[in-house]
């Protein structure tokens, strides 16, 4: 599949064109995932009037924001042809580290000491930890040429071990949670929840970087054909390390939002987030082979997952039904994507 795809598109047929404006990324695949989302929304609002309300939409956006931040960064990693399974563990570790540094936090863990920092500094330290994990991932992948799947599977298990080590298995609580820190996950600005603002900023920034900046073109070129990218003088390794570091940082941000929102840092925070984020990216039409996809597509993808979850909750669907429906929608979305691509090729 990878070889034929590359034969069809010499380097990166889907890379953004250098226009005055980045061309809106409307392609068959994006239409497919957009149609799935639109269809869902129309059907659901027909069935249940409660679905189509502004407050319900904000609810969905608030839930989606946390995994959405990860999915936005994951999109760039997947476009380079990589993958990162360690993000869920990063969410857990950064949440725990940040929580332990914020005034008012307490736990039975020996690492949660009286040493506290002001909230902005604590958040910065947390983001730095996330970035460092991503940097190590990038370093392992580029310097040892281990498949990203295996390398990040290793760091996923390892970092989850660090979470247990750091928290000693005890949750970290706040008593009371400083107002600044609560604002990150529970606050709102102009009636829109803070996580949604953060999510919007991240998506806008990454979309801009991937479509309008040279680093974005490099990312697409690497995914399309790494050897050609290297021979064209692009800094392949440096760009890869950059996208993994960025993803680690964003996973850290997600961990901080989650901790603030739940008002506790638990050892199992973020377990399975990597799969939710990857599902969103894939539903959004980004190819796991690399070189094709977009941040906006992932936005549609994570909202599709969020809308389904929300609707299933509204209708009081049981856990099994939720599993089956989520899985089937994922399969449906990628099948439509696949059919759209096959049509275009022939």
């Amino acid at each position: 599949m990878s070889s034929t795809a590359q034969m069809g598109s010499p380097v990166d047929a889907d890379a953004p064109k250098k226009g005055r404006w980045a061309r809106p990324n409307i392609r068959a695949e994006n239409v497919a995932s957009g149609v799935v989302l639109l269809g869902l929304v129309i059907v659901l609002s027909g069935v249940s009037p409660a679905f189509l309300s502004f407050s319900n939409f904000l609810d969905i956006a608030r839930v989606v924001a946390i995994t959405g931040v990860i999915a936005a960064g994951m999109t760039l990693v997947i476009i380079t042809g990589g993958i990162d399974l360690s993000v869920g563990s990063t969410v857990g570790l950064v949440g725990a580290v940040t929580a332990s540094l914020v005034a008012g936090s307490a736990s039975n863990s020996s690492f949660v000491t009286d040493f506290k920092l002001p909230v902005p500094l604590a958040v910065l330290v947390g983001l730095a930890v996330g970035g460092a994990i991503g940097f190590v991932n990038g370093l392992i992948i580029t310097k040892t040429h281990i498949e990203p799947f295996m390398a990040t599977l290793g760091t996923m298990i390892f970092v989850r071990g660090l979470v247990y080590l750091f928290t000693g298995g005890y949750p970290i609580h706040f008593d009371p949670m400083p107002h600044d820190f609560a604002f990150i996950g529970q606050g709102a600005l102009f009636g829109i929840p803070t996580p949604v603002w953060l999510f919007a900023i991240v998506v806008a920034a990454l979309w801009w970087a991937s479509r309008r900046m040279s680093v974005g073109r490099t990312i697409y070129a690497i995914g399309g054909n790494p050897e050609a990218a290297r021979l064209s003088g692009l800094k392949v390794d440096r760009t890869k390390i950059l996208v993994y570091t960025l993803l680690g940082l964003l996973a850290g941000l997600a961990g901080i939002i989650l901790t603030s929102r739940l008002a506790s840092a638990d050892t199992v925070n973020g377990v399975g987030y990597e799969l939710i984020a990857i599902s969103g990216v894939v539903i959004g039409g980004t190819s796991l082979v690399g070189g094709r996809g977009s941040v906006i597509g992932s936005l549609i993808g994570v909202f599709t997952v969020g809308v389904i979850q929300n609707a299933l909750n509204l209708f009081g669907a049981s856990t099994p039904i939720q599993y089956v429906v989520t899985g089937l929608v994922l399969l449906l979305a990628i099948s439509l994507d696949g059919i759209a691509r096959l049509r275009r090729r022939t």
Binding site: E147, G161, I321, G327, I339
Partner: protein, 358 residues
């Protein structure tokens, strides 16, 4: 000759290098696995003498057989579909589903509703049939629509887990996660019976391993899998029916995962919809530590068998030494990375040898 330089940077040549070693019973990498198993056994025994007791070894073999049987399917999937990013993430859920069907339809289940009562042989066959069909469905989507196996099996993982919940809810007549408990001779055979000093499932595991190794090395279908894993286009040009092969491979993986689930259910004498959560990573670890290359076209059944023993040995030994679970995470993560680095070194060396001989 003209195509050779293009192939050396990739790992495709490594695939053929292992072919040159195929006459030897044990490769260097497998020797390293045997050595590690022996060293760890010595280490664990020195710290906890009961590690070498019969009970502990039996326990180890049962767990190794379960992971190993599912790992055989994973090995076949990765060998044949590695170049497509081939992997089967649904095996953990398939195990839960296999166990849930096998136990849920049983006449001897101690449950409230128990609407269907079938003999164990039939429930086992139905369980294997369903998991094989779901695997084939994954294979169909992957081969017909050219979708990434990662994404398809991720969806299937969710679907199969949901079906496992539904099956258990159907059997016990309420939707809690308590699971189906039962008592049945056939499941006892999976979970308790010994043949001589060896657990019955270990014999089953070894028989399956020999069968699959035979299939890979001695049948045109099996050798085609290596070609397919090296390069799908080459396989097509060589006259291999790529679509059918992919469907069969994922059906095998589903079937073996279902069997692994039945073994797990037999050991626990209960089938829970939560069973085998996250086992897919453990199983992938078994395949990769055994020397199966994630880029496809290379892998060995003997390696998978040894790796299953090694991984279960680490689990059993660390539990026995009362190592806290978070340290187990650190140790396992480290071992995985070391195994993958060793694989890289091995590949680099076999590539270099080829350059010299060329």
């Amino acid at each position: 000759m003209s195509s050779l330089p293009a192939q050396i940077p990739g790992r495709r040549r490594g695939a053929r290098a292992s072919g040159a070693f195929r006459g030897l019973p044990v490769q260097g990498q497998q020797l390293a696995l045997v050595l590690m198993i022996a060293l760890l056994a010595a280490g664990f025994t020195s710290r906890a003498p009961e590690f070498l007791s019969l009970d502990s070894i039996e326990n180890l073999l049962r767990s190794a057989s379960m992971f190993g049987i599912v790992g055989l399917g994973m090995t076949v999937v990765i060998i044949s579909c590695g170049s497509l990013g081939g992997i089967d993430l649904s095996v953990g859920s398939m195990m839960a589903l296999g166990g849930a069907i096998g136990a849920g339809l049983l006449g001897t289940a101690f449950t409230a509703a128990n609407p269907v009562r079938l003999p164990a042989v039939l429930t086992v066959l139905i369980a294997l049939l369903v998991t094989a069909l779901l695997g084939a469905a994954s294979g169909l989507l992957i081969s017909r629509l050219k979708l990434a196996p990662f994404a398809v099996t991720l969806g299937m993982m969710s679907v199969a887990r949901g079906l496992a919940y539904l099956m258990v809810a159907f059997a016990i007549g309420s939707s809690n996660t308590a699971g189906v408990t039962f008592s049945d001779p056939l499941f006892d055979w999976f979970g308790l019976t010994n043949i001589g000093p060896v657990p019955a499932v270990t014999v089953l595991f070894l028989v399956l391993a020999v069968l699959i190794a035979f299939m890979l090395k001695a049948t045109p279908f099996g050798r085609g899998l290596f070609v397919l894993g090296g390069n799908a286009e080459n396989a097509r040009l060589a006259g291999i029916n790529v679509r059918r092969t992919i469907v069969i491979v994922f059906a095998i993986s589903g079937l073996l995962a279902g069997l692994g689930g039945l073994i797990l259910t037999g050991r626990l004498s209960s089938a829970s919809p939560l069973a085998a959560n996250g086992y897919e990573l453990e199983v992938i670890m078994v395949a990769v530590i055994g020397g199966t290359s994630l880029s496809g076209g290379r892998g060995s059944i003997l390696g998978t068998v040894l790796a299953a023993i090694l991984v279960s040995e680490i689990d059993t030994g660390l539990d026995m030494m009362n190592v806290p679970s978070f340290n187990q995470y650190l140790i396992k993560g480290t071992i995985l990375v070391v195994a993958v680095v060793m694989d890289k070194v091995y590949q680099a060396r076999s590539n270099r040898k080829l350059v010299q001989t060329a």
